[in-house]
């Protein structure tokens, strides 16, 4: 007689505490009585009671030990030598996909699969050979086909120590195909052996698990239970087309469960945690949202952010995504002024700008400036504007683009181009400008604001060397700095000058890394797969008795009979 699961014999240790308890119990309990004469008379009437003690107790102990022996024997799944099958070849494929790191089977499904693999190795019969493969994003052979159980166990331990969640989409089908080819190649070396069988230890969370489980030469031993899970299934970011200083974060969260769920969506950026939203998800629901991130949110950090869900679920690997936020460029702004603190303060508040203040613009400084520098002239301008995007505030002299012919008497803005992004949220007609000079442009200019008589107050000029904006205000800017529109005007101007001539903003979408495949995040197998009990090894022979019923069932029935017998003995020993 052989045993399909010899490791079950360790349950015979249960007999030790039974014997110890028996020895502890056989010590007679001291009972004080006032007189012995009634007990003596009682004993004379039922003399057997005085002598039946030891035999009956030993029968009880023997019955209990017999129960333990029979149950252990049943767990070991005995089978007759005549039922033993010929040596076979097996390939054990262990799923290493990310879903195998779910914690519904403590500590993880992968560890449970390793334990199950160890039990399967223990149940190999003499002459059986086994290969171990790992099914990650690419299948790999952990241990070639061998009969050496110690080598198999070492390979299993190595797999346990080195395994990590697969980053990509794992495909156990490829590993199964590799296992089949291994078994087919070994047909020549194992003469007379039957066709091999592939045993797949997996949670079934992959495409085509149903079909694979139905394949006759593949036995799928399922690991883990159906578990609820929340996952970040998509994440991306891009620059805001309207405001280059801003960034749009696009996140998709999916609820892979039959219950509603809520979690916090946060972003770790530069050592700080920013709470983004509180997604509330319906059962099977998907939550998508574009979250604008201002320059203040992003700041001057390097843009490497981690988006994560704070909810605790079965799989933590899909609760986070790493993304590099598209940061706005830091541009240099050179303010050429004799001293205008209002204008300087307005420029200093602009994000993504590095301000440099000079009294005049020497020729040698021009070559040192970065190519994307924006020049801001306060009053005095060179005779020829440099080949940089330029903003001129209150020009006092003529240059190559315009000429000045005296001052305007009426300097109130009577008209402005409301459709221009340069005047978004700006009302120049509410400001009083002083000492405005009359400009006559020598190049095509787009007037953004003008007086009642049509004299330009604010104009934009396109030129190949760079855009130019000119605000024909006096040197003191009148009361314009006291309006809240002034920093907005400066911001709009710098944003327009940054875009350059005829630039169409097509922000590139940055995609998050570390996201799992949706199928990996769904920890509920799509079907009720045929599961193999860990007590019943697919490597084992069929442990059946000659009557056709499993021997274990017969033994369990015998054990139940012994339990009833012992109970009867106990009741007989008791007091009515």
């Amino acid at each position: 007689m052989n045993f399909a699961d010899p490791s079950a014999w360790r349950w015979t240790w249960v007999a030790l505490p039974i014997v110890l308890c028996y020895l502890a119990r056989v010590r007679a309990t001291r009972v004080d009585v006032s007189t012995m004469m009634f007990w003596r008379r009682a004993a004379e009437r039922s003399p057997t009671c005085w002598h039946a003690r030891w035999p009956r107790r030993w029968v009880s102990l023997a019955a209990q030990l017999l129960i333990v022996t029979i149950l252990t024997l049943a767990l070991a799944q005995p089978f007759l030598s005549s039922d033993q099958r010929p040596p076979q070849r097996f390939a054990l494929v262990i799923d290493e996909s990310a879903s195998m790191w779910a914690t519904d089977e403590p500590p993880t499904r992968f560890c449970a699969a390793i334990r199950a693999a160890g039990r399967l190795i223990d149940s190999l019969q003499p002459g059986d050979s086994l290969a171990i493969l790992a099914a990650a994003d690419r299948p790999r052979i952990v241990q070639p086909l061998t009969e050496d159980r110690s080598a198999l166990r070492q390979a299993l331990e190595g797999l346990r120590g080195a395994a990590r969640p697969a980053a990509g989409v794992s495909d156990p089908r490829a590993a199964v195909a590799l296992a089949r080819s291994m078994l087919a190649d070994s047909m020549g070396t194992h003469k007379g052996a039957a066709r091999g069988q592939v045993v797949l230890l997996s949670d079934g969370c992959f495409e085509g698990a149903d079909r694979l489980a139905a394949t006759p030469d593949v036995e799928l031993v399922r690991v883990g239970k159906a578990a609820s899970n929340l996952a970040i299934t998509a994440c991306g970011a891009r620059r805001d087309a309207d405001d280059p200083a801003r960034c749009l974060l696009m996140v998709e969260v999916t609820n892979f469960s039959a219950n509603a769920a809520q979690t916090d969506l946060v972003m770790d950026l530069g050592g700080q945690t920013i709470e983004l939203d509180k997604p509330r998800l319906a059962p099977q629901g998907v939550w998508r949202k574009s979250i604008p991130l201002s320059a203040a949110d992003i700041g001057s950090r390097d843009g490497a952010a981690i988006i994560r869900l704070t909810a605790t679920d079965a799989l933590s690997a899909d609760n986070r995504a790493s993304i590099v936020l598209p940061l706005c460029d830091i541009r240099t702004v050179v303010l050429v002024t004799a001293g205008n603190p209002v204008l300087r303060a307005a420029l200093e508040t602009q994000p993504s700008m590095k301000l440099r203040v000079v009294g005049r613009l020497p020729d040698e400084s021009i070559s040192d400036l970065p190519a994307d520098t924006i020049l801001v002239f306060d009053g005095v301008t060179p005779a020829r504007l440099p080949a940089y995007p330029s903003l001129v505030i209150g020009p006092v002299n003529s240059c190559d683009l315009w000429s000045i012919a005296g001052k305007l008497e009426d300097s109130l803005a009577a008209w402005q181009d409301r459709g221009s992004p340069l005047l978004r949220a700006v009302r120049l007609d509410q400001a009083r400008l002083e000492g405005v000079r009359r400009l006559t442009f020598s190049a095509p200019a787009h007037v953004l604001a003008a007086t009642q008589k049509g004299d330009p107050l604010y104009a934009a000029l396109e030129r190949p060397e760079g855009r130019v904006l000119v605000l024909a205000a006096g040197t003191d800017l009148g009361d314009l700095p006291r309006h809240t529109a002034f920093p907005i005007l400066i911001h709009n101007a710098l944003a327009w000058l940054s875009a350059g001539p005829a630039t169409v903003i097509r922000p590139r979408v940055e995609t998050a890394s570390g996201l799992l495949d949706r199928r990996e995040s769904d920890l509920r197998p799509s079907h009720e797969m045929q599961t193999s009990s860990p007590m019943r090894s697919p490597f084992a022979a069929s442990p059946r008795s000659s009557t056709g019923k499993p021997i274990s069932i017969t033994l369990l029935a015998c054990g139940l009979g012994c339990v009833i017998g012992e109970w009867w003995l106990y009741q007989r020993r008791g007091v009515r």
């Binding site: 006032s34 009682a42 009515r576």
Partner: protein
């Protein structure tokens, strides 16, 4: 002398016990008015008030006892005789053997309470009370107490009384008690009567000297032993606290049934003996309330003692 070294306040006979006795006395007076007492008549004619019979006058008789009505009718000098009215001697014998120190509360405590209650009622009626302890022999007692105020020294004596380490020997103890000359009275034996030699010889001696009342004290666990699960599984080592002998047994239903039958037979034999010989008998379980126990006892005592 089985007197406990404890001389502290009485724990057994506390104020609650005294109040209970006073209440019991009132109940007893209402229930048995005029039927008892130092008002008891003697069996010999004497100087009492209750008429007994006539006899012929003899010189020297008291002229005040001549029945002049009979003389007027028959012209014959007859002297009226009356029952002698005298106090009753009550003897309380308390078993102090080791077997009485059993149960919770112990049979010994119950016996002492019963003895104290009977003594109190007797003292209240003007009877003369003597109390003695016995085990293998009669131990020193307290004798000839009179008056209600004597209850306190009696209670203090009972409080100090402790069980001794000897076995019960009823025959020797009661023989020793009856061998001393004492006025005939009512003798109450409070004991468990667990004597290997039997109780018949001792009670027979006592009955010849006094009207006898038997109070058998027992615990519920003696009548119906309750066993723990551990005892059921591992058997038991029975230890006789009186004889210090031990014996191991294996619990079984038939054994316990035999025990119960033996105990019941013992009680039936005691009751039967008392009934056949005109002794009062009361089976007193320690689980019964004291007042109920005493009322039962006094009813039986009345039946025995009213003609003492």
């Amino acid at each position: 002398m089985p007197i406990s070294p404890r001389q502290d306040a009485m724990a057994l006979f506390d104020s609650r016990f005294i109040r209970q006795l006073e209440r019991l006395e009132l109940v007893w007076r209402r229930a048995a008015h005029g039927a008892l007492a130092a008002e008891r008549r003697g069996t010999q004619a004497g100087t009492g008030l209750e008429f007994a019979d006539h006899r012929l006058y003899a010189p020297g008789d008291d002229f005040r006892r001549l029945d002049w009505n009979v003389y007027a009718r028959h012209e014959q000098l007859l002297v009226k005789r009356a029952y002698d009215e005298r106090e009753l001697d009550v003897y309380l014998l308390v078993d102090c053997s080791r077997s009485m120190d059993f149960g919770s509360p112990t049979k010994f405590d119950c016996a002492r309470r019963v003895a104290a209650a009977v003594a109190y009622l007797a003292l209240a009626k003007g009877d003369r009370v003597s109390v003695a302890g016995f085990a293998a022999d009669v131990l020193t007692g307290i004798h000839s107490l009179r008056g209600k105020a004597s209850i306190f020294p009696l209670l203090a004596w009972l409080e100090r009384l402790a069980p001794c380490a000897t076995e019960t020997n009823l025959a020797r103890s009661l023989h020793s008690f009856t061998s001393k000359r004492r006025p005939r009275g009512l003798a109450a034996v409070v004991s468990d009567f667990y004597d290997e030699a039997g109780f018949e010889a001792g009670l027979s001696l006592l009955q010849q000297a006094h009207r006898t009342q038997v109070v058998q004290v027992y615990t519920p666990s003696e009548a119906n032993p309750a066993l723990s699960t551990e005892s059921r599984l591992g058997g038991a080592l029975l230890c006789d606290i009186e004889s210090a002998t031990s014996r191991s047994i294996e619990w079984s239903g038939p054994l316990l049934e035999s025990y119960r039958a033996a105990f019941a037979e013992f009680q039936q034999s005691l009751v039967g003996y008392c009934g056949r010989n005109g002794l009062g008998c009361l089976l007193a379980s320690t689980a019964l309330p004291l007042d109920k126990l005493l009322l039962d006892l006094l009813k039986k005592t009345r039946a025995v003692g009213c003609h003492a």
